[in-house]
């Protein structure tokens, strides 16, 4: 299965249920899209992430009822520096969707998805712990894997692999 070039043109992707639902229900929320290696990625406006996730979960055409994973990527030195990555899963259509949000490196924060999926709580705490991204509205945002008095956020690209000595 040789690789096919990625499709990044929104016009070509507008038939996809997730793209169509977002364009109709939340105009302006969708910033970009990419279809690569049979996986669809959508970039959402950080201010509209919770309405967008709600729409994708509750709309009958998309029905991404399950959140499989939340993580983040550090794109230092780019700005906005971080991407928070949500991996959604639809049981009915047996399909995954990746939703991404760009977060600024200067005081990174975003709304918490725990209002939709409380189970996202430890995942967001992990991102807070390892990347230093704050989640507004999270019930208990503390470090989860590292000790409470740890300095720095290890998964940031400017944190040395060996740690600070």
């Amino acid at each position: 299965m040789p690789l096919e070039p990625a499709i990044t043109d929104l016009e070509q992707l507008k038939d996809r249920p997730a793209v169509a639902a977002l364009e109709a229900g939340l105009p302006g929320a969708l910033q970009a899209a990419k279809f690569d290696r049979s996986e669809l990625t959508l970039w959402i406006d950080p201010l509209k992430i919770i309405p967008a996730l709600t729409l994708l979960r509750d709309s009958a055409a998309t029905s991404y009822k399950s959140l499989a994973d939340v993580t983040a990527v550090d794109w230092l030195p780019a700005e906005p520096r971080f991407e928070v990555v949500y991996s959604l899963l639809s049981y009915e259509r047996r399909e995954r969707l990746r939703v991404k949000v760009k977060v600024s490196g200067n005081d990174p924060y975003i709304e918490s998805a725990t209002v939709l999926w409380p189970g996202a709580s430890p995942f967001e705490r992990e991102i807070f712990d390892l990347f230093g991204i704050r989640f507004l509205g999270h019930p208990d945002l503390r470090r989860i894997l590292l000790p409470d008095d740890w300095e720095g956020h290890p998964l940031r690209k400017d944190y040395p692999v060996e740690g600070y000595r």
Binding site: W117, G119, I144
Partner: protein, 406 residues
């Protein structure tokens, strides 16, 4: 606001819900029934659990960070160490993700061997779960029987990979080496006597009155809560979520196998036990199918710049020697992009999110660990129930702390 959100609010150090009636108790991190180093902060009112919060991270080794400093092929040995009871499942998820990034297809023989060993891994992992879970509740004998059969599977691991636990047998583009002589006979012998052994465990537990009292109706979780809490795998299927990645989103050749996905609706410890017992039988069936369908042929993809050459070729052909040297010293470049590969590990959805920036080292590797998400269930399962049932609940979720903390 979903009600289950309350399970994630911290227990304040000084103010307990019950005032003077309740006390806060630390269970673990060194406690035999927590299967590793899980610390549970429990607020109890007499024998009843009022609130319970897991405290994790005692086994955190920063594997995700380490991966970013390794070549793609050097990451494989680290994936073994995440879920150390199901090393092949982790290998599989990672190599499938990298193969998807590369657009690489593995030959049929490698695919079938992978399927066979993945299902064998599920059996071995479930055997450890059954043995330790039963021992936690007080049935000591089952443990000895389960480890007897697990030993046989570990011997087979050793035959194929040279290692009993950290196998690193699956490689990007195929397998590290072919099956050794006599392996299939050994496995065939195992599949012949194993069905009787499953019935043996079942006879000890399934209709045992003590077992039923300790498990039926204990640590219940509803389907709605299971959805909100992102549970997967047998824990979710015992609550009525009819979802199995092997059947619903087949990967790595599972579309070629015939099997049933066991389901239960009660959502208690007994239901989870029944689901996993049936999975043992189904997995055995899949191992048999894979053995019957196993074709001859190469075990590595024909991609000399990615897959290490055969030892024999390396010694006789200049190009192979050069490729070998290049792969070992410089790694192989992976085209830019990102993939998420989810597989059904013995514990639930094991997902690898791999981001490539076009170099020989992954830009980011994230493991979506099933135990990490399934630990969410501990609150709704235990609150309002007896302290003694906490042990049954932990055992029935089947968490691995290496998987939780990574």
């Amino acid at each position: 606001m979903p009600a289950t959100l309350d399970y994630f609010r911290a227990i304040p150090v000084v103010e307990t819900i019950g005032g003077d009636r309740t006390m806060v108790l630390n269970m673990g991190p060194q406690h035999p029934s927590t299967h590793g180093v899980l610390r549970l902060v429990v607020e109890i009112d007499g024998e009843t659990v009022v609130r319970i919060r897991p405290d994790i991270g005692y086994l955190h080794t920063g594997i995700e960070k380490t991966c970013e400093a390794k070549f793609y092929q050097q990451v494989i040995p680290m994936t073994d160490r995440i879920d150390y009871l199901a090393p092949m499942a982790n290998n599989l998820a990672y190599v499938l993700a990298v193969e998807k990034l590369l657009g690489l297809e593995v030959p049929p023989r490698a695919m079938w061997i992978r399927l066979m060993l993945s299902e064998l891994t599920r059996i071995s992992s479930h055997l450890v779960w059954l043995g330790t879970h039963a021992m936690d509740i007080g049935a000591m004998t089952v443990f000895l029987y389960c480890f007897r059969e697990r030993e046989e599977i570990l011997k087979m691991y050793e035959m194929v990979a040279g290692q009993r636990m950290m196998t690193s047998y699956f490689r990007v583009g195929g397998l590290s080496m072919n099956l050794p002589l006599g392996f299939l006979d050994y496995l065939k012998n195992f599949t012949n006597y194993f069905p009787a052994r499953i019935e043996q465990y079942s006879d000890l537990l399934t209709s045992n009155p003590i077992w039923m009292v300790r498990t039926k109706g204990v640590a219940k979780i509803s389907k709605e809560d299971a959805m909100e809490l992102m549970l997967t795998g047998p824990t979710a299927r015992a609550s009525g979520i009819d979802w199995d990645l092997r059947r619903d989103m087949p990967y790595g050749g599972y579309e070629n196998l015939e099997f049933k996905v066991p389901l239960a609706t009660e959502g208690d410890v007994y239901a989870r036990y029944m689901v996993r017992m049936e999975e043992l039988r189904q997995s055995l069936g899949m191992v048999k199918q894979a053995m019957a369908n196993l074709p001859d042929g190469p075990i590595k993809a024909d991609a000399p710049k990615i897959v290490l050459p055969d030892r024999e070729k390396m010694k006789t052909q200049m190009e192979s020697l050069i490729h070998h040297f290049k792969i070992v010293t410089e790694g192989f470049n992976v085209p830019e992009g990102e993939v998420y590969q989810g597989i059904e590990s013995p514990r639930g959805e094991m997902g690898y999110y791999v981001v490539s920036d076009g170099t020989a080292k992954p830009y980011r590797v994230h493991m979506r660990a099933p135990s990490f998400a399934n630990l969410n269930a501990i609150g709704p399962m235990c609150e309002g129930n007896l302290l003694a049932d906490v042990v049954a609940a932990i055992g029935s979720i089947d968490i691995i702390l290496g998987d939780v903390d990574r």
